[in-house]
Amino acid sequence: MKKGFLYWCLLLPLILSSCGDDDGPELPPVEERKEEAVQGLIDDLIAPANGWRVNYSPTSGAGTFLMLLDFNENGEVLIKSDVAVNDGEFREHVSTYRVDVGLSLELIFDTYNVFHYFFELNETQFGGEFEFLFDKRQGENLIFISKSDLGSPTTLTLEPADGTEESSFGLEIVGYFDAFQGKSPRIFGLKAPSQHVILEDQNISVFWQIDLIARSLLVDMAGEGTTASELLSNNNLISVFHESTYNFVGNRLTLENPFEIDIAGKSIRLESIDFQNFDSLAGPSMCNLSSDPTPVYSGTSELGNIRVEKSLFSSEGLPYQPQTDRLYAVNSFFIFDDSLRSLQEEGIISVSFPTAQAFVMNYGFQSDSLPENSVGLIYENEFGDSEWILQYMEPTQTEINRIRITLRNEFYTLGDVDATDIANMSQVNAEIFEGGEVYIYDWPNNFDLKIFWIYNPCNEYELLILP
């Protein structure tokens, strides 16, 4: 009993001394400290006379977007940006913000603005963010870290603006580049357009696919020559596969990972292009049947004069090769018109072959019965049996990913097929392959399948085809 009592007596002062405030005797209550921290950050946010400049990169794979943020004490923020989508909605807009304190101080844009636009892309899987954790003050800058990014956290650095930034907004150049998006495959979302970048003084061409949403590009191919026909006849295009993000400042496009290559005895390094002249009508038509113009954007770089044209060439179609042991085919639903409606549901196939099952595209197929090169449909007759009509075509010619289709007036049939059916089949093929040239691409998918995506620039029809 005495020993126990002694222990407790010794312990009691220790316990009582632990009640002392580790943070100092005069520290205010926690709620007061929180309010002070919140107000401190708000004061910092509203302090700069010209607001803040932000070079925002929503994900590691995206380029840089220039923004100006001007916070006020009423919880509003005026944002200007060089993001040109939605008819310029984000060029200048007001939203609200809040500073919270949870695990740390947080800056939350709590009504919709350009940060939400990036957040919502690809059903919120793109990687943008509108909630940021305050990290630190660094000199005059405020550093934030994205709160709920699916991938690597993004850093948001707020630098005091000097009032001259607005002249850096590349609004004009952004708009001109958007003009290259037209005449591109789109059934599975807008495909990043291809551009033919002609280094005129070097007699070199570069083809890249430019993602106008993420501001990233993939340099696909390069070769000696300045026109498509020259490049194809020279047959010296080489695959490159160089990835870079980019940004626009004024009328300059800058590759954040410059492109370098040795080609035709020259060392080429392309870091930026200063654009001067845009002409929406000076470029080549994508369809051999029409003279529909496309844009041309000209400028200069360290490599001399540069001319950028629209293109549909891409090395993605190179794996489309003759298949001797099987045919290319697809469920006939997956053929779409220029309004992205399935021809099986509303177009010519629904009228002529309402029971169509599959679309077949033989390319080099070696068979005792089926034609080696042919296109057509398999459909069901009134008795539930399959009937085939395949229209012969000349041996397919491919130039990079451009396929020339020359249909012959000769048909393979299986089943009780009459002349009307054959005439209908001829019309279907003529409509799908109007112009006789289509472009083929790889369609990345989550089904673990190789799927090709065919685009006809003359009528903007699209179809899928599986090996």
């Binding site: 929180k34 007001v94 609200t96 949870g102 939350i108 009504t111 919502e120 919120t124 509108f130 709920s148």
Partner: protein, 286 residues
């Protein structure tokens, strides 16, 4: 010794508990009690908070969704039109019908959330609208506001009338024997989405989601009855049948008719609101 220990432990607890007298652990985190700063806040306060006790939350707070759900905030410019939509298509019809105002004011959830887009779950699925035990109704896709777009409008009306109907069975229970009207048709929370609309109708339900359980069946049936213009033509009136599948649909319609009869009687009895009259008030606005 034992007595001593028993004595000293309460003393220690008392001493320790008095260490931080100034600090309160119950600190509200992310509390966004709206400060009236703008005209919009004032409008909300005048027309909704003061009048009906509804707090309209248009500024995003992450507690509005679960940690795996991803959604954007509403555009400032969309908030006022959405308020007008809520007033015109949800509140005003109640004010027009007998006992409606009293019912609405007594049962309206205290918190209404506006979210800008759809709620994405990351696996390709989306949540169109949610409610939380009568305490909150969440409108999604507010940024796409267009009351002339039937698809958007019907989605919002389905959400709000569905969620508001839950308050009735939560407070007053389901109509007597409601769950016995189509007992074989219920699927369960994890499998309702494999049904088509057609299959749900054959089972006696207005939608696949209604088959998940009797509470959802009740809420979906009330909601469809109120907002769906062709409710009788599609869900009640019998077809002239020559096929078995058509007869099965008619059997489903019989069950839905029974449900509507049961629900309208129940509403009349426990709330005093005539659902037919409320339906007419809503339909006159569509």
């Amino acid at each position: 010794m034992k007595g001593f220990t028993i004595y000293i432990i309460p003393v220690l607890i008392l001493i320790l508990s008095s260490c931080y007298p100034e600090e309160n652990l119950n600190v509200p985190v992310n509390d966004t009690q709206i400060e009236i700063v703008t005209e919009l806040d004032q409008y909300i306060d005048d027309h909704f908070t003061t009048e009906y006790g509804m707090a309209i939350r248009y500024k995003f707070v992450d507690r509005y969704v679960s940690s795996l759900q991803r959604v954007t905030a509403p555009r400032l410019e969309s908030v006022r039109p959405m308020l007008d939509f809520v007033e015109e298509f949800w509140i005003n019809p109640y004010l027009e019908v007998e006992n409606g105002e009293d019912f609405f004011k007594k049962h309206v959830p205290p918190e209404i959330i506006f979210l800008g887009g759809l709620i994405y779950l990351g696996d390709g699925l989306q949540v169109l609208g949610t409610a939380d035990a009568g305490a909150r109704i969440t409108f999604t896709n507010v940024n796409a506001i267009d009351p002339t777009d039937e698809e958007w409008r019907d989605q919002q009306l389905n959400t709000v009338y569905h969620e508001f109907a839950h308050t009735v069975h939560q407070l007053y229970k389901l109509p007597t024997a409601f769950e016995t009207i189509s007992p074989e048709g219920y699927t369960g929370a994890g499998s309702w989405f494999v049904l088509t609309d057609e299959e749900a109708l054959e089972r006696g339900f207005v939608s696949p989601y209604a088959t998940s359980n009797p509470n959802e069946d009740f809420a979906e049936t009330v909601s469809f009855f109120l907002f769906y213009s062709d409710f009788y033509g599609h869900f009640v009136d019998q077809e002239d049948c020559e096929t078995t599948i058509c007869e099965t649909r008619n059997q489903g319609r019989d069950m839905i008719r029974t449900k509507i009869s049961s629900i309208t009687s129940h509403y009349e009895k426990v709330t005093g609101v005539d659902l037919e009259e409320l339906r007419a008030a809503i339909q006159s606005r569509l």
